[in-house]
């Protein structure tokens, strides 16, 4: 089997795992087992996984956003990190301090997003700048943004800065036609978001975000051009969010006509069909994969559910790493005035 096929298969694998895991997370949410928001990448798995698959783990940087479960997994984030963060386990990467999609492992090249849209792009720029300073110039940094997130000043400042510094940044713009409930005509006035690329002096691409093969192709190109020193790359993927904004939202404002267009195709179904058509897997092999995915998800969730929860009494409540400065930092421990450490 050629490398093209194996890349596709790998992509399908992560898409399937991500979808399976997120369905479980959504079910936990609806069962009241998850507190706070749940954000799903349904319909965006091909686009997200492709970007991450084109990166080199252990070398490159990937800063996922809210719909990048597939990309996270493809980049090496273990399933248990997701489960633990959603369930607030004390053993997860965020130790119950932060939740859901606000997770990462910066030491593995995956920063932990803050909520404020657009804010991670400049952080990736800084990580890349650090690599430049440290003489590791081949590193590529990839990150994502939604159609809505492109309206932030943070997006603009960071894109422009990446261009001025000629950083090997790849930005994936997932145009899923909505920002929460807001359709694109209330979000931007340009013909296509890719038209922004020229304004930053970066190379731009448009891709059908529902087509795994096309996504893999475009990200392969963008990542290799970034790595080769051609500066920032912007890939706009057109697709549709196949769910609400969060698990709390039924997305009923998404018109049926839009769902019926090519944008509304389910990338996972398409990829599955392609696996069959190309004879990259038989139906029973696919069913086996699906069963394995369910099993892996069950295990991860079960493990996270057995984990200890964060214990306020064990918490250090220490916002800075310079421990010796804590004494005078605030006049608590009990956060009242009168008792000091």
């Amino acid at each position: 089997m050629d490398s093209h096929a194996s890349l596709f298969q790998e992509g399908f694998h992560w898409m399937l795992l991500a979808r399976t895991l997120e369905e479980k997370i959504a079910a936990l949410y609806h069962a009241g087992k998850i507190v706070g928001g749940v954000y799903l990448g349904r319909g965006q798995e091909a686009f997200s996984a492709s970007m991450a698959l084109c990166l080199e783990k252990g070398r490159d940087i990937f800063a996922p956003l809210i719909r990048d479960q597939a990309g996270r997994m493809a980049f090496g984030e273990p399933m248990i990190d997701t489960a633990r963060t959603y369930l607030g386990s004390a053993l997860g990467p965020m130790r119950g301090r932060d939740g859901n999609i606000h997770r990462g492992r910066p030491s593995k090249g995956m920063p932990a997003m803050i909520s404020h849209l657009g804010a991670m792009i400049a952080v990736v720029c800084g990580m890349l700048k650090a690599r430049q300073f440290q003489g590791q110039s081949g590193t590529v940094g990839a990150t994502c943004i939604g159609d809505g997130g492109t309206s932030t000043g943070a997006f603009h400042e960071a894109m422009n800065m990446a261009s001025v510094e000629r950083l090997p940044l790849v930005i994936a713009v997932a145009n899923n036609q909505f920002a929460y409930s807001t359709p694109t005509d209330r979000q931007y006035g340009c013909r296509d978001l890719v038209d922004r690329a020229a304004g930053y002096g970066v190379e731009g691409y448009v891709v059908d975000g529902t087509d795994l093969e096309a996504c893999l192709e475009v990200f392969t190109k963008a990542v290799s051009r970034a790595r080769a020193g051609h500066g920032p790359q912007m890939v706009v993927g057109n697709l549709l969010r196949l769910c609400g904004h969060g698990a709390h939202d039924d997305g009923s404002y998404i018109p049926d006509e839009l769902k019926a267009t090519d944008l509304g195709r389910d990338c996972l179904k398409l990829a599955r069909q392609r696996m069959l058509n190309k004879n990259w897997a038989t139906l029973s092999e696919l069913e086996m994969m699906e069963a394995e995915a369910s099993e892996a998800v069950q295990q991860a969730v079960a493990q996270a559910q057995r984990d200890p929860l964060p214990d306020p009494a064990q918490e250090s409540w220490q916002p800075i790493s310079s421990t010796w400065l804590m004494e005078t930092m605030t006049n608590s421990p009990f956060h009242t005035d009168s008792k000091r450490a």
């Binding site: 119950g96 920002a179 306020p312």
Partner: protein, 321 residues
């Protein structure tokens, strides 16, 4: 026929839209969708063209509001969460807040900030930013704690000729209900004695009012009568009412949900000791959230912010246990 804190906010906006053609609302997902919390539910339909979805551009949202305000409109800006007003910070403190003083032209607008913590919301959907805005000259900062105040203060805020930061508490949105909208309204700038007492005064605001009232119930079981003062507006701050309360009780605990360094509780304590030092029988105390980001997990969150239990504990200390 009961009404929630959230519905009161919606009703106040509906009335303002009805009564003043210059009022409009601008914010993310507020039109057809009715807003992330449904504070503008149906308003876009009732008032076509006057409730508008904005792009995800908090800085420009505020800039637009300022421009419209100085041209005679009365914009209401809904931030999806108070925390995202950090992006609009510059336009709020440097553009809106300075405009009247610099030019003599008033800048009447209201920024609605869904504020404060709820379980599972984490570091970026839980913040209480009132102290930041109160620090800057030129802003009025309101923190309603009751259904009636949510309604009447918002209505009054919209008529003020100055920029108002309206801090709504997300926890109260659904949890707080009244049987009906009270007719009683206290003007902006006045604090309210919510519970009378004689052994100590708790001065607080927003969601912490309700925790404080529960703490007062606790202390009542021990025979202590705790007076509870709701600031309602943190800037202006009604020093006279606070002082009168401390004069009655001789003891002060200032309680807030925001971060502990500086801010509302420090301002309350500093005002009281400057003018009412002789009234105090014990050192005045503060109780705030802890000095870390606001944690996601409910276990941690409950230990991060003041609660009835920790307020009661602080009161027992204050009363000399």
């Amino acid at each position: 026929m009961s009404i929630t804190y959230l519905e009161a906010i919606r009703e106040a906006q509906a009335r303002a839209l009805r009564e003043d053609p210059n009022v409009f609302i601008y914010g993310q997902d507020i039109a057809r969708f009715g807003g992330a919390f449904k504070a503008t539910k149906n308003l876009a339909r009732e008032f076509p063209g006057r409730v508008l979805d904005s792009p995800i551009s908090e800085d420009a949202m505020m800039g637009l509001a300022v421009g419209a305000a100085i041209e005679g409109m009365r914009p209401i800006v809904e931030m999806q969460f108070a925390d995202f007003s950090s992006i609009a910070f510059n336009q709020i403190v440097n553009q809106a807040a300075t405009h009247y003083w610099r030019t003599g032209i008033p800048c009447p607008l209201v920024v609605r900030l869904p504020s404060g913590g709820t379980a599972g919301s984490g570091p970026f959907h839980s913040q209480s930013m009132e102290s930041l805005y109160a620090h800057y000259p030129g802003l009025i900062v309101l923190t309603p704690a009751t259904v009636g105040d949510a309604y009447w203060m918002l209505l009054e805020a919209i008529t003020l000729n100055d920029p108002v930061i309206f801090c709504e508490h997300k926890f109260l949105y659904y949890h707080l209900k009244a049987d009906e909208l009270p007719d009683e309204r206290l003007p902006i700038g006045k604090a309210r004695i919510v519970r009378h007492g004689k052994h100590a005064s708790v001065v607080t605001y927003s969601a912490m009012l309700h925790e404080s009232l529960r703490a007062a119930d606790e202390l009542a079981k021990l025979g202590y009568e705790i007076e509870v003062v709701d600031l309602r507006s943190i800037k202006p701050m009604d020093t006279d009412t606070i002082l009168a309360s401390v004069a009655r009780t001789g003891r002060l605990l200032a309680v807030g949900e925001a971060f502990p360094w500086g801010g509302v509780t420090a301002e309350v304590v500093s005002r009281v000791v400057a003018e009412g030092f002789h009234l105090l029988d014990a050192p005045p105390k503060r109780l705030n959230a802890r000095d870390t980001p606001i944690p996601y997990h409910p276990n941690l969150w409950a230990a991060h912010r003041p609660t009835a239990a920790t307020i009661a504990e602080a009161l027992r200390e204050l009363l000399g246990f």
